[in-house]
């Protein structure tokens, strides 16, 4: 092997990219080659300095929370932008021939719905306004008349007798049932996470709060945690925190409360979070190192006086210091 070959291996060895047996060969070479030994030492110093002084810190929780909030808004806009027709076109375009046939059938179904709606003799029964209240046994959804919106002409060649357009087919669905029903919970969970209107998200959380119990579905529980961590509206986050307080204190809820205590900009929510954590620790959870670390940080630097005092008190009780 030439000296240049060894230099390459020295570089890879310093970068931690060679196996132990090759490394042993390189080390034997370096024992007799001062130049390669110096190169290896120099690379080692460079890597140590870069690791120690360079861009080391993990992104903090606040930055992550901000990024998540902004992503959620962007995703809502994205979902609003993508039309069902586009999805259908994509479905048929990218798949095998049977998809084309199915796509055609779906398009035909859309046409039938449109025809029923637009050409219905008594437009007053379903063409606008609120759909009639329908009591539904259990939590079965009841579909109302489909409405056609956002008609967009793609091509209208005069004289050809053909026209091409896209539209959104919107179907209002009314549900009634127990808040304990999984179907109801699934819809409300979706609304809690995805509705544009904060009032609707708040109502969804409130409704789910009333249904929260020992056997809370893990999807609902996860959605409440996410809402607490990243909903842009403080009222919605507060309601989610209240809902979580009614559940058995566990590591997932503790983590969410710690996140709120560390990263939430609203002092009222941080107060609620530290109170909930304090209540939780008196159970089996206790005060572990994560909690203690946050408490110390809060005792030192939170801009809310109550939180600083409370943090000191909890530290004192937990550690006797």
């Amino acid at each position: 092997m030439t000296h240049d070959d060894y230099r390459d291996l020295v570089f890879l060895a310093a970068s931690g990219e060679i196996d132990d047996d090759v490394r042993a060969v390189v080390e034997r070479h370096m024992a007799s080659c001062r130049e390669c030994a110096a190169e290896f030492a120099s690379l080692g110093r460079l890597h140590a300095a870069i690791t120690r002084e360079g861009r080391a810190p993990e992104p903090d929780d606040r930055l992550l929370a901000e990024a998540r909030q902004e992503l959620r808004v962007a995703l809502r806009a994205e979902r609003a932008r993508v039309r069902p027709w586009s999805a259908l076109m994509e479905f048929t375009r990218t798949g095998p021939a049977w998809r084309l046939a199915l796509g055609g059938a779906l398009a035909l179904a859309c046409g039938v719905i449109a025809g029923r709606t637009v050409l219905a003799p008594s437009a007053g029964q379903g063409g606008g306004g609120t759909p009639p209240a329908v009591a539904v046994r259990g939590a079965e959804p009841h579909e109302e008349e489909t409405r056609i919106t956002n008609v967009h002409f793609v091509n209208h060649a005069k004289g050809s007798g053909e026209v091409e357009f896209t539209f959104d087919a919107v179907t209002p669905v009314r549900m009634r049932g127990s808040i304990d029903d999984p179907g109801i919970q699934k819809v409300l969970t979706h609304a809690m996470l995805n509705e544009e209107n904060p009032g609707v998200r708040l109502q969804a959380v409130s409704a789910l709060t009333r249904g929260v119990g020992e056997a809370q579905d893990s999807d609902v529980r996860g959605a409440l945690v996410k809402t607490l961590e990243s909903d842009p509206n403080v009222g919605v986050r507060k309601e989610a925190l209240n809902a979580l307080r009614r559940l058995p204190f566990d590591p997932e809820i503790k983590k969410a409360l710690l996140h709120t205590l560390v990263a939430d900009g609203n002092s009222g929510l941080r107060v609620a979070a530290i109170n909930a954590l304090d209540a939780g620790r008196s159970g089996a959870a206790g005060v572990d190192s994560d909690f203690l670390e946050v408490l110390k940080q809060k005792a030192r630097s939170d801009d809310n006086n109550y939180i600083r005092v409370k943090a000191r008190a909890v530290i004192q009780e937990a550690t006797g210091q």
Partner: protein, 188 residues
Amino acid sequence: MMEDVELVTRAQQGDMLAFEQLVFRHDRKVLAIAARYVTSAEDAKDIYQEVFLRVYRNLNKFRFKSEFATWLHRIAVNVCLTHRARGRRTLQTLFADARGEDDGEPHGEIRDPAQGPDAVAAGADLAGRIERALGSLSPKQRMVFTLRHYEGYRLSEIAQMMNCVEGTVKRYLFTATRRMREQLKDAI
């Protein structure tokens, strides 16, 4: 806890909760890659958002031929490499644009024109010098260097993420290391 495969499958069927679980499971790493590649928090958030929007738009094309995380990180790397800093385009990306292709060669000593004498003096510490040295690397060199030294990826993994052969990644790392050492030689 649900596996990625199941969450992806559910997300592909339109389950937004599953999609969010995927995001929350992997997004810290994506933000870390972005934050170490660019210097501003706003740019890091822009990259983060673009990555997950691309994932959302293309999830139905994911065919489970690789781990979801590998696919996600490949998108993150691509978004980083094509990212234009908010407010202004960086000198090095303009250099890369002018040549049409990033050839992996160093771009010479490129200093931020906004840095006056005071700023240079204030940033004379080692961390500041490392930061400036990183800024002088080409986008691909910087990406390989940060993925190797800050994220701990192997060269083979980086090659997969950057969609190139391992030898190319090795060349980027070698050139980046040489360049970094030149710029930091009197400090370490």
